[in-house]
Symmetry: C2
Subunit: 114 residues, 2 copies
DNA sequence: TTAATTGTTCTGCATATATGAACTATAGTA
DNA sequence: TACTATAGTTCATATATGCAGAACAATTAA
């Protein structure tokens, strides 16, 4: 299993961020990580991610990979689990309101549905 | 040729916006439309879009279609041409800083490259 | 060693994207 | 009414990408 790759902040791109967050499942994962008190592992999302959709773990793993490679999430192995946290602080410093605006947009959109 | 479809503001989604703008070519087109004084037609972008990349008109047409269906651009036939303008005002009203944040992000990213 | 748990990678299939070719729509001109 | 030119869309298809089951890898515990 090759080591996880996390882009340096200077290699993170706007298109990468938008691509990653254009998928509602990934956006949900990211937002749950962002609002979590501590790092969460993938399996947290196995049961039902957001709208009650349950996904196979291979699909979830791919989604985490996309978030990681876009520079949105930092993942670290802790024993048998993977601990994931967002890179919001770095991103805010580099891109200002970009990520926050997206999260706010989704929050507004989804609040009306539940 | 079936009539162009423009989503009503209430059918525009965050994921649609992000998907459309996750493509640098489309982002470039959108930003050029946004900063244009008047509506521009597709062929304006035929020669070279942004980074000097020249695309076939069928591809450009598809990109415009994506922008239109995402609710980012409004297109209107004027004679043989198509006049395109952004829907920034509506979008700002519905989504606040979402689109502006994205545009600012790309602007910052691209300013460093030219 | 064996088993259990967590997550990744591989693989086949299904969907999506890009582009040349063909087509449609409008305007101008004879 | 042709015929031509221009702007853009749609079609066909080859390529690329995404999803999910199966196999694999890494760690922990018994």
């Amino acid at each position: 299993m090759r080591p996880l790759s996390h882009p340096k902040i200077e290699h993170i791109t706007v298109e990468g961020i938008l691509y990653a967050l254009a998928d509602p499942v990934r956006a949900r994962i990211f937002m749950e990580l962002a609002s979590a008190e501590s790092a969460k592992n993938c399996s947290t999302f196995l049961g039902a991610c957001g709208g009650g959709v349950s996904l196979p773990k291979s699909t979830l793993s791919q989604h985490f990979k996309v978030l990681r490679e876009a520079g949105l999430v930092y993942s670290e192995r802790k024993g048998v689990e993977m601990h994931n946290r967002t890179r919001c602080a770095e991103l805010r410093e580099k891109y200002g309101a970009l990520v926050g605006g997206i999260v706010a947009g989704y929050a507004a959109q989804w609040d009306n549905l539940f």
